[in-house]
């Protein structure tokens, strides 16, 4: 039943990251960490994604982009903010062009702090997100039942 947990496809968006967290995230796909053994695939398409991973804080220019991308992901979906900038804005928090962390624009389910976040903690965060994904699926099912009745 819970196939979502066995095949989470990621969508990675670089909001305004310095590339530190991006490289650590991509390191998860390399032979050393190989997240594909858990069925995790890095897809470039929001319509195929289950987990939305964002690195870097949100700035005023990509606010709409993040919102739009999030809306294109079919339910159930979870959002993982990777790195301290994505969590809160980090050192760029007070900048004139920054909106702050990802949660200023879309609801975030898991925060993975760090500068840069280590691959181990990113994987840990995504595994946590899978639990939430499963909960959301059940909620979605119940909603469908209610509407059906």
């Amino acid at each position: 039943m819970a196939y979502l947990k066995k095949s989470p496809w990621l969508l990675h968006y670089d909001a305004s990251s310095c590339n530190g967290c991006d490289i650590e995230l991509l390191a998860c796909l390399t032979p050393l960490y190989d997240v594909e053994r858990f069925g995790i695939i890095n897809t470039g398409n929001p319509k195929h994604a289950d987990v939305f991973v964002i690195t870097g804080g949100i700035n005023e220019l990509n606010r709409e982009v993040v919102k739009n991308t999030y809306e294109q992901i079919p339910d159930p979906k979870v959002v993982v903010a990777v790195g301290i900038c994505a969590c809160s804005g980090g050192v760029f928090r007070e900048c004139y062009n920054m909106a702050g962390g990802v949660d200023q624009v879309i609801p975030v389910d898991v925060y993975v702090p760090g500068c840069a976040a280590r691959p181990e903690s990113i994987i840990d965060g995504i595994v946590k997100a899978l639990g939430i994904l499963e909960e959301k699926r059940e909620e979605m099912k119940e909603k469908e039942k209610k509407h059906g009745n």
Binding site: S7, P31, D34, F38, G39, N42, T43, P74, R137, M140
Partner: protein, 295 residues
């Protein structure tokens, strides 16, 4: 047999039904083994063998977000025609009709991609048409070659023929392996949509399909894989054990090619597809023709 295609209607129906039921299981397992071997070739552990089934099961759990409803109808047609052409193939039907139904199925997925309002989807559809153009001549040559050697276009006759077709058609066989790489969307030719490196054209052909619809495309692809591997069998119909071994080796070769080559431009797909058809395929047929003239 001769004029009675299939050599018995009951066996034809049983083999066709067996295809409809078993092909997704076989195709999914092949896809799983493919991903595992690919991972091992890259020095990774790789996903479980059953991963493709988890993926498709998950896709059916997801929300169906369709912008243009007609695109889903085309995908249903794609799946249905893929099953029909495969079932007709395994029922021992006419090879030419199988090829036409097979091509029609692909035309539907192209139409589906065109129906969506997305530039990525449209470029993917255009590239899929190019791959269709690239491999089609060689598929026809395969059918003609097998006809020249075994004297029949019926799969039932070709598959049970005692003539060692591979000895007469080595060029056609190698040509078929080349277009198999195109058909399976393996690396030098995965221009329309690909299994890896998903960032190319977002996802090309399948960009606009999500959830259950994407699941149907995957299932159709499993059916397709089984039909294509079945076509390899036709070259070795005289010895089923050898046929199975060659099918396994051919697929292994495809995985190896997939992992060795980088993606090429679409022009290269055309040149490869028509190149092998014009040289290996056509020359082989000419030689076989003259051999038979002497007999």
């Amino acid at each position: 047999m001769g004029y009675e295609p299939g050599g018995g209607h009951v066996t034809s129906i049983i083999t066709a039904l067996a295809f409809v039921v078993l092909a997704p299981l076989v195709g999914g397992l092949v896809a799983g083994v493919d991903r595992k071997i690919t991972a091992r070739m890259q020095g990774r552990v790789g996903p479980p063998i059953l991963q493709p089934f988890y993926d498709v099961a998950k896709l059916f759990e997801k929300e169906d977000v369709t912008v243009t409803p007609s695109q889903n109808l085309y995908i249903v047609a794609y799946l249905v025609f893929m099953i029909v052409s495969g079932a007709y193939f395994f029922a021992g039907g006419d090879f030419l009709l199988v090829i036409f139904a097979f091509t029609l199925a692909h035309v539907f997925i192209v139409l589906g991609a065109y129906a969506a309002y997305s530039p990525y989807s449209h470029i993917g559809a255009e590239r899929e048409l190019i791959t269709l153009m690239a491999y089609e001549p060689m598929v026809i040559f395969t059918a003609v070659g097998l006809y020249m050697v075994t004297g029949s276009f019926y799969i039932s006759d070709i598959a049970t023929s005692t003539v060692p077709a591979i000895l007469y058609l080595p060029g056609v066989f190698v040509g078929f392996l080349v277009i198999l790489t195109i058909k399976l969307r393996k690396s030098p030719f995965d221009i329309s949509t690909s299994h890896h490196a998903h960032q190319e054209l977002v996802k090309g052909l399948t960009t606009e399909f999500a959830g259950p619809v994407l699941g149907k495309i995957e299932i159709a692809h499993w059916y397709e894989t089984v039909v294509l591997l079945g076509m390899i069998y036709l070259f070795f119909g005289f010895n089923p054990v050898l046929a199975i071994v060659v099918i396994a080796l051919a697929y292994l070769l495809e995985i190896f090619i997939d992992n060795t080559f980088s993606r090429m431009k679409w022009q290269w797909t055309m040149k490869s597809g028509w190149g092998v058809a014009a040289t290996l395929g056509f020359l082989n047929l000419v030689i076989v023709y003259y051999l038979y003239m002497g007999v």
